[in-house]
């Protein structure tokens, strides 16, 4: 009887085809498959605020765009919307004509 049982087990091993996931050790310990290699992932430093963050001016405190344009217009003495740059028929370049306009004010 013992012989027959041993033969049965040999038969089971020969005929069945159960397979481990790689090796017997891996099959028994349960490691399923290769996972991400944690050593290839670079650790990031945590996000921190700059040291003088509290002292930086907030956007509300600054001047608005419209104010900025009006200051610029004042310094030029003219409005940006108007066509102040007349096309000069002379051979002067555009840059020179602008400089001339500014100096003449």
């Amino acid at each position: 009887m013992t012989k027959k049982i041993i033969y049965s087990f040999i038969l089971l091993i020969f005929l069945s085809s159960c397979e481990t996931m790689g090796s017997v050790k891996r099959g028994l310990t349960g490691e399923k498959k290769q996972s991400t290699d944690e050593f290839l992932v670079r650790k990031k430093n945590p996000l921190i605020l700059p040291p003088d963050y509290e002292n930086l001016p907030s956007p509300e405190a600054g001047i608005s765009v419209a104010e900025e344009i009006s200051i610029f217009e004042k310094s030029l003495g003219t409005s940006i919307g108007e066509d102040t740059f007349e096309s000069d028929s002379s051979s002067e370049s555009l840059e020179k004509s602008i400089l001339k306009k500014i100096r003449s004010k």
Partner: protein, 153 residues
């Protein structure tokens, strides 16, 4: 006649299960399904024999092993035809599964296994439908040896 029908039925059931899963893989679906906390479907190819023993590259040893398995199958078919009663059905179970695995060894040069029983992270060997019937047959055979005094032939 009943024995032959059982053998053919098990062989076809095993083939259908394997072809279905292999077709899924051909269609680009990775065979790695989670069914429940105890059962996964995960495809591996076995080039050796049971319990991951003698897995090897395709070589003369592979063909030698296939030839031995073929001889064992022929011997079992001989026993099947000669045996009577419960033993005949047990042999039919074993041969049905065994022919399924032998077919894969000859056709794919490896046996696809895909049923992964596990408890937490502890996995049992990955097996297939043919293995289920072979194991039932062998366990039945051992039990019959204990319980019945009759010889199987």
């Amino acid at each position: 006649m009943k024995k032959i029908i059982i053998v053919i039925a098990i062989f076809l059931f095993d083939r259908v299960s394997k072809i279905y899963l292999l077709n899924l893989q051909t269609n680009g679906i990775n065979i790695d399904f989670y069914v429940n906390p105890f059962l996964n479907f995960y495809l591996v190819w076995n080039t050796g024999i049971g319990f991951g023993i003698a897995s090897m590259e395709l070589s003369i040893y592979y063909h030698l092993l296939t030839f031995i398995i073929l001889l064992v199958n022929i011997m079992l078919i001989f026993f099947l035809l000669k045996s009577k009663g419960i033993y005949a059905y047990l042999f039919a179970l074993i041969i049905g599964g065994s022919l399924g695995n032998l077919f894969d060894r000859l056709y794919y040069y490896a046996v696809p296994d895909f049923i992964d029983l596990h408890l937490g992270d502890y996995h049992w060997f990955v097996f297939n439908v043919a293995d289920i019937f072979i194991t039932i047959g062998i366990i039945g055979f051992i039990l019959a040896e204990f319980l019945m005094k009759r010889k199987f032939l």
